[in-house]
Symmetry: C2
C-alpha cells in the first residue's frame, strides 16, 4: 500500500501545481480554448479585520515567490491529469510548458496592514495569474495570520523571551514549519521545531518533557541524568508531580551539580496557577541561593496570559507558546481574497453582496507623524500619487525575482520597526481602535462607473 | 537564495525526523547516555471534549503508520545535526541507524471516541517511542479535529452532497490535503483539492470562480464559454453581480446551449442570503423549465447554516464548505496528549494540576443496545476484560504493519456506521449530552497506589 503511494510522497506538496482547486484547471482549459490570454491583475487583501485584531502583519511573500519560481507540472503529474480524462491534449501540452512569467508587487514581509489594502499584486497572462490563486492565498493567509497573532504576544510581553512550542497542535507539517517562521518574523526569539532551524535558520529552544521525569523512579534522579547529558543548557521541568516540592529539590540538587561543574540555567513550569507558582518558585530559588536560575513558563498560554503575567509582575523570564500561536486559536482564519481587479487593461469588480471589491491596480500610501508613528493610509489607483510612502514595491519581474530581496532577519527587523510605529491605541490587545484608511476619490469614481455599466447590462438582460 | 534552500525543499517535510521538537533529541541523548532503553508505553488521547463537541471521530492513523514505517535520518540531516554541534558522535551514530521497531495498537479510523480514551498506543524502546511524539500528535490531532468537525456537517445535512472547498484557508499545504482526507473519511462526497485525488483517490469537484465571470465583459458570454469548454459538467456561478438576474439569464441561455447538445447541470450561489436566494432561484429555474438544474451553495458556510437550510427546506442540493471545515473554526484545537503510561513494566502517571493521566496500558470497551446504538464505554487496564467490544487493535508489530489494513473507503464506511450508532442526543449539534465513559475499578486502584508512592517520595524530599 505504501509503495503505491510513492508518487504522492515523491512530489513536494509545497510546490506542486496540483495543490490547487480543480476549478482552476477547468477555467484554464476554457480560457485556452477561447484564447483568453491577455494580462490580468489580481490582488490579495483582507476584506475586514476580525474584531479581535487592530492590525495585521504581512508574511509569506518569500514562500509565494519561491513557489512561483519553481512551479512546473512534472511528467508524472501530467500523466495523471491525462489519465483523469477531463482535459484536452492541447490543454495538457500547455500545462507541460507552464511557467509563471508575470510580475509581482508586494508589501515587504513584516509590514503592518489593514482591511482592503492589497499586500500582493500579480500581473500576468490570465491563465498564469489564475492557476496560482489557491496556493498564494493558502500561504499568505496562514503566515500573515500567525505573524499577526505573534505580534500581539510580542507587544504583550515586551523584552521577554518568547518561543514557539506549537508544532504538535499546528494543523499539519507545513503549518508547524511556517508558524515557526511567521512568529520569528514577528519578534519571537525562536522555536522548538528543529526543521525550522534547518530550513529557515531560526534559533531552536528545547528543554525536557514530563515523560522524561516519569521514566525515572525518582524526580531528582531524572534531573541529574538530564543535567549530565546536557550540561550547557540545563532547564528542568518541575511540575510533573508537585511544583514547589520540585523547586526545593532543585535547591538541594544545585550544589551537587555545581561540584561537577554544571550550572542549572532555569526551571520550567507547565501547569497550575503559573503566575502564583512563579512567585513562590522564585522565592524558593532565591532563598536557596539560586537567584540566577531563570523561570520559563508554558502550558496553554496566550497573549491575554502574557499581559496578566506582566501586570502581576510575575518573575517569569520566558514563555513557550503553543496552540494559541500556531492555530491563532481566537481567530483561526482571516476573511481574505485574491481577486481579479483588471483584465485586458480594464478595471474589474466583483459586486457580490458583502464581498464587493475596489477595482483596478492599487497602491497603499502610508503617512507618518513627526515622531515616526503611522497616522493613516490612502488606498488609491497605482497611477494616482498620494501623500505618504507607497508600500507596494516590485519583487518579481517576468517570473524572476528582483534583487536584492529581503532575508528573514531583515523582515524581522522591519516587523519590529512596524510594531514601534503603530499608533499607541493599536498596540493594546483590546479591540476598538480603528486605523484610518481613506479610499482616494479617483478609485471611488471608477468603482461607481463600473457599477453603472453593469447595471445597464443587467437591466438589458432581465 | 533559492538554491541554498534546496536541501530544505528536497526533504519530505511529512516524513523527516527533523519535524519534531528539539527537546526530543535532547532527551534521547540523555536516555542513550544513561542506557534507558527499556520498553515504554505511550498513549494518545484527548483530555476533555470541547463544549461544542459531543463526540470525536478518530482519523490520521494511516499517516502515522506510514510515518513510522519510513522514518529515517538522511545523510544530509545527520550532517546538519553534526554541524549544530549539540550532539555527541555516539548519539549521531544511534540516529544514523534509527528505525521504529515498536508495536502500535489503535482504534480504527472512523471510530467515535470520547475524553480520556486512548485512540493509539505505542509500545517501543523508550527512545523510539519518544522521538515520534511530536509528529504523531501533529497528525492525529489535526485529522481527528477535522473528521469530527466534518461529521457534524454530515449529520446536519443528511443525504446532501458536501464538498471540501477549504484548501485556500487551510493552515498550509498539508492541512489542506489532510482536511480533504479527514472530511471524506467522515462522510463528505469529495473535495476541490486536486492533490487529494492524486494522493488519496478522493473524488474532486469544481465549478468556476468569480474571476472567470469578471474576465468577460458580459456575464452570459462567460457562461457560454465555460459551458462549451466543460460541456459534461456545466455548473455556473450566478452571484458575481446579481443572483436573480443571473438566474433569469440562465433560463434564456439554456435552450441555446441545448441546441448545441449541452445541458446546464447546476448553478452555484456563493453570497447573500443564500437560503432565501435558493428559493427564489429555484422558482426562476422551475418556471423556466429547468427543474433538473441543481443548486449548489457555498461561501462561509458551517454546520449551523446547514441545519438552518435543512430546517428552512432550502432547495439546495449540495454545499461547498471551506474555512469552517478546514480550520475547524469554532474549535481550532483539541486538548490532546501523548503520554508515558508505563515504563520498564511499571505504570507511570503525570499528576500535573489539571493534566493528570490514567496510568498503564489501557483498553476501551464499548457496549451497544440491542438496536445497535452505543450505550457506554469502559476504560480499563488492557489486561482487565470488561463487557463490550474492545476498540484498540494491533495495527503494527515490530515496526511492520499488520495486514490487511483498512483502506480510506473502509474507514469512510466505518465512520458512516459509527454516526448511525451514536446515541440520538449526540447526533444533535447542540452541546449538553455526555456519553458515559466509566473508569474500571482496577485502573482507579493502580492510579491511587501510584499517587501514594509518589507522595511518600515527595515527603521524603521536602
Amino acid at each position: 500500500m505504501l509503495r503505491s503511494r510513492a508518487s504522492g510522497f515523491a512530489m513536494d506538496l509545497r510546490t506542486t501545481p496540483l495543490l490547487t482547486d480543480l476549478y482552476q484547471l477547468n477555467m484554464l482549459q476554457a480560457y485556452l480554448e477561447h484564447g483568453e490570454s491577455k494580462i490580468a491583475v489580481f490582488e490579495f487583501f483582507v476584506r475586514e479585520l476580525p474584531p479581535q485584531r487592530g492590525f495585521l502583519i504581512a508574511a509569506g511573500l518569500e514562500q509565494v515567490l519561491e513557489y512561483l519560481q519553481v512551479l512546473r507540472f512534472s511528467p508524472s503529474e501530467l500523466d495523471w491529469l491525462k489519465e483523469k480524462g477531463d482535459f484536452s491534449s492541447s490543454f495538457l501540452d500547455y500545462l507541460a510548458s507552464f511557467r509563471f512569467t508575470g510580475d509581482v508587487e508586494a508589501m515587504a514581509e513584516g509590514t503592518a496592514f489593514f482591511a482592503q489594502e492589497p499586500i500582493l499584486r500579480v500581473t500576468a497572462p490570465l491563465m498564469e495569474a489564475q492557476l496560482v490563486e489557491t496556493r498564494i492565498i493558502n500561504i499568505l493567509h496562514f503566515e500573515s495570520l500567525i505573524a499577526s497573532k505573534a505580534a500581539r504576544m510580542v507587544l504583550a510581553a515586551p523584552g521577554k523571551t518568547l518561543v514557539d512550542f506549537g508544532l504538535r497542535r499546528a494543523h499539519g507539517a507545513e503549518a508547524g514549519l511556517l508558524a515557526a517562521r511567521a512568529s520569528y518574523l514577528a519578534g519571537f526569539s525562536g522555536t522548538a521545531t528543529l526543521a525550522a532551524q534547518k530550513i529557515y535558520g531560526i534559533p531552536t529552544y528545547g528543554t525536557m518533557a514530563h515523560s522524561f521525569i516519569q521514566a525515572f523512579d525518582d524526580e531528582v534522579h531524572a534531573f541529574e541524568v538530564f543535567a549530565q547529558a546536557r550540561p550547557k543548557n540545563v532547564i528542568l521541568l518541575i511540575d510533573t508531580y508537585d511544583t514547589e516540592v520540585a523547586a526545593k529539590k532543585i535547591v538541594k540538587l544545585a550544589p551537587r551539580l555545581n561540584a561537577k561543574g554544571i550550572q542549572i540555567r532555569g526551571v520550567r513550569i507547565d501547569s497550575g496557577d503559573i503566575i502564583a507558582l512563579s512567585k513562590r518558585v522564585r522565592r524558593i530559588l532565591d532563598d536557596g541561593g539560586l537567584s540566577k536560575v531563570t523561570i520559563f513558563a508554558s502550558g496553554g498560554l496566550d497573549e491575554t496570559f502574557l499581559m496578566a503575567a506582566e501586570n502581576a509582575k510575575a518573575p517569569i523570564n520566558g514563555f513557550g507558546i503553543g496552540t494559541s500561536l500556531t492555530t491563532s486559536s481566537d481567530v483561526p482564519a482571516l476573511d481574505c481574497a485574491y481577486k481579479l481587479q483588471e483584465y485586458a487593461g480594464l478595471p474589474r469588480r466583483k459586486r457580490s453582496t458583502g464581498k464587493a471589491t475596489w477595482p483596478g491596480r492599487k497602491q497603499v500610501w502610508r503617512r507618518y507623524a513627526s515622531d515616526g508613528h503611522m497616522i493613516g493610509d490612502t488606498l488609491s489607483l497605482e497611477s494616482d500619487s498620494q501623500d505618504g510612502i507607497p508600500l507596494l514595491k516590485q519583487v518579481m519581474r517576468r517570473g524572476e525575482r528582483v534583487e536584492p530581496h529581503a532575508t528573514l532577519d531583515m523582515a524581522r527587523s522591519h516587523a519590529a520597526e512596524e510594531l514601534k510605529r503603530l499608533p499607541t491605541a493599536l498596540r493594546k490587545l483590546q479591540a476598538g481602535a480603528i486605523y484610518p484608511v481613506v479610499v482616494a476619490d479617483a478609485l471611488r469614481e471608477i468603482a461607481s462607473t463600473f457599477d453603472r455599466q453593469q447595471s445597464i447590462s443587467a437591466d438589458s438582460a432581465s
